[in-house]
């Protein structure tokens, strides 16, 4: 079927005018969105190379802001915390999510209710959940106090005020809040495993454990990588949760990059350094996302050629 463009109806300029609302509606929102993303990123990168403090100023200081930020104790602690928090949280939420998905996949009663229970924290603000966890984990108020009141006086669970352990309180809260996400993706993956594959393994006499280890779980690894990347992205930009749970404390023991950025920009008014810290955050994120994008690209090419 071919349709000839009727050349009769083409009075160029009046047509353009007539279609102006359409052009505006298509281009204005898309351009605003795209322009703000590119311009704002470049703007922040530019500020990171200037000596700006209270207000942005022009001038060029090269990498000085970056050097100062990287050499600061605040950033170093934040970066170490990010490595620990990122790996512990991602690994544990992955395991929790997978276990939950496998359990829910056993055709159990009340699956919908259970799924809703594991996912509801995602609908709630991190400020709210962080606040609640700060109460539960506060030794004078929460779990430790409860156990003491019950008579076990020597019980100790005071990570919230322990410099070395405080970061683990954030791990706990983050796992609780977002394991449901991993579960949802894994469950979708488990449900889409080829039924013939399972049949064949059953005929071969594979028991349930063998079935999961040898047949079902290997099909899940693309989902696993997606979950890891998304959870890492969340870990890198974690801000609200820490703000509500520990506010970076005790001292600066639970500092994370996003808190350093905020602190430099809006509490110490060191805009150049704050911008440099933001760019460093972006670089950390890119270190995760670029390999992922490359992997996705290869996967897609392979799918096309297969």
């Amino acid at each position: 079927m071919t349709f000839a463009v009727s050349t009769a109806t083409r009075p160029a300029t009046s047509d353009m005018v007539r279609r102006l609302p359409e052009y505006l509606m298509i281009w204005v929102p898309l351009l605003l969105s795209a322009a703000h993303l590119i311009a704002f990123s470049l703007w922040t990168i530019w500020i990171s190379f200037t000596p700006s403090t209270l207000v942005p100023v022009s001038g060029w200081v090269g990498l000085r802001n970056y050097n100062v930020v990287i050499a600061s104790r605040n950033w170093q602690i934040a970066f170490d915390n990010l490595l620990l928090f990122g790996s512990a949280f991602v690994l544990l939420s992955l395991v929790t999510g997978l276990v939950l998905a496998i359990l829910l996949d056993q055709r159990i009663r009340g699956e919908n209710v259970l799924r809703s229970i594991f996912l509801y924290p995602l609908a709630v603000s991190f400020v709210v959940t962080g606040t609640v966890w700060s109460w539960l984990l506060n030794p004078g108020l929460g779990i430790q106090k409860l156990v003491h009141d019950l008579g076990w006086i020597s019980f100790r669970f005071d990570w919230l005020i322990d410099r070395d352990m405080a970061i683990w309180t954030i791990v706990i809260a983050a796992i609780w809040q977002s394991s449901g996400f991993a579960m949802a993706l894994f469950l979708a993956g488990l449900r889409s495993v080829d039924a013939d594959l399972i049949k064949a393994a059953q005929i071969d006499g594979a028991g349930p454990i063998r079935m999961y280890r040898r047949v079902i779980l290997p099909t899940l690894w693309p989902i696993t990588i997606t979950v890891i990347v998304i959870q890492l992205q969340f870990a890198i930009s974690t801000f609200d949760l820490v703000r509500a749970l520990t506010n970076g404390g005790p001292g600066i023991a639970t500092q994370l990059p996003a808190l350093v950025v905020y602190d430099l920009m809006f509490q110490r008014s060191l805009l150049g350094r704050g911008a440099a810290a933001a760019v460093l955050m972006l670089l950390i994120l890119l270190a995760v996302l670029l390999p992922y994008a490359a992997w996705r690209y290869v996967q897609r090419r392979r799918a096309i050629h297969a």
């Binding site: 898309l30 703000h36 594991f118 920009m265 760019v279």
Partner: protein, 285 residues
């Protein structure tokens, strides 16, 4: 995996799942119970306990009584701020995203895939990269410390998500439908209004729920770009815990936390299915 192994292993599975579910519900239960206990009762024991006398007064105090900084109007003004930011920003970003998604998926124009690719980068770009520019833009346009400023920010930034959601949905609509309508002389808006929009309710529900939840729960922009009476409820909650640090009022605070969490929790209860769809749609782009 059925018949014989039924009894013991099944019971074990149910037991295990129920235990985890209880752990997942525990924080919610603690806040609900504490919101019904008096401050004194909590101060005597721990935050974990059953209310001796149900203290509904906490909700009254939390809603309109307690003080943040100098003003004693409870959490109500901040809830109103959050609503005044979240509702318009959700509506605008969803509508604009639907039109944009329709344009890049079905209307097609020169450069569509390029601009779409850039727009979706917004899903990954950390907010921290946009904080300073937004500060400067809001200051220069006089929108600093206004709810309008937050609406503008959330509308523009939300476009990355709404365009992605709608585009991925509209891609499945056959192109022939649009071609036929164009031959009949229907224009961009007519096709959107007559053909696309009637097909859209499922994805619009997903998008609206996603945007509402995210904008309501957002904290960083709220705390950076507004102060005092202009703050959304998430920022106000942090201010509240700081304000009462000397004399804790955990009963009232719990009630405030519950009130702040209620809108998104209710939406989740009513439309959880759609919320989860948004969650996984964003993930497996």
């Amino acid at each position: 995996m059925r018949d014989r192994t039924f009894a013991p292993s099944r019971i074990l599975i149910y037991l295990f799942v129920s235990l985890i579910a209880a752990a997942w519900l525990a924080p919610l239960a603690v806040v609900v119970l504490n919101s019904l206990r008096t401050n004194e009762e909590i101060a005597q024991g721990s935050m974990i306990g059953w209310p001796q006398h149900v203290a509904w007064g906490n909700y009254v105090a939390a809603w309109s009584g307690f003080c943040v900084a100098e003003t004693c109007a409870g959490i109500r003004p901040y809830m109103l701020n959050s609503a005044l930011v979240t509702i318009p920003a959700t509506v605008f970003s969803t509508l604009l995203g639907a039109v944009a998604g329709y344009a890049v998926s079905l209307w097609r124009f020169r450069g569509d895939s390029w601009i779409y690719g850039i727009v979706t980068l917004g899903i990954f770009l950390p907010q921290q990269m946009r904080l300073l520019p937004w500060t400067i833009v809001l200051r220069d346009t006089g929108l600093m410390n206004t709810l309008t400023g937050l609406v503008v920010i959330h509308t523009i930034q939300g476009l990355s998500f709404t365009t992605l959601f709608c585009r991925n949905y509209y891609v499945a609509i056959p192109q022939e439908l649009i071609r036929a309508a164009r031959i009949d002389g229907a224009g961009f808006f007519r096709i959107f209004w007559r053909i696309i929009l009637p097909l859209s309710p499922p994805i619009l529900v997903v998008t609206v729920i996603w945007q509402f939840t995210h904008i309501w729960n957002e904290f960083l922009y709220g705390v950076t770009f507004t102060t005092g009476q202009q703050q959304p409820v998430t920022a106000a909650l942090i201010a509240l815990s700081a304000a009462v640090a000397d004399i804790p009022q955990h009963g009232v605070q719990s009630a405030a936390v519950m009130i702040a969490a209620l809108p998104t929790l209710l939406i989740y209860l009513l439309g959880g299915r759609y919320f989860v769809r948004g969650l996984t749609a964003g993930a497996v782009k």
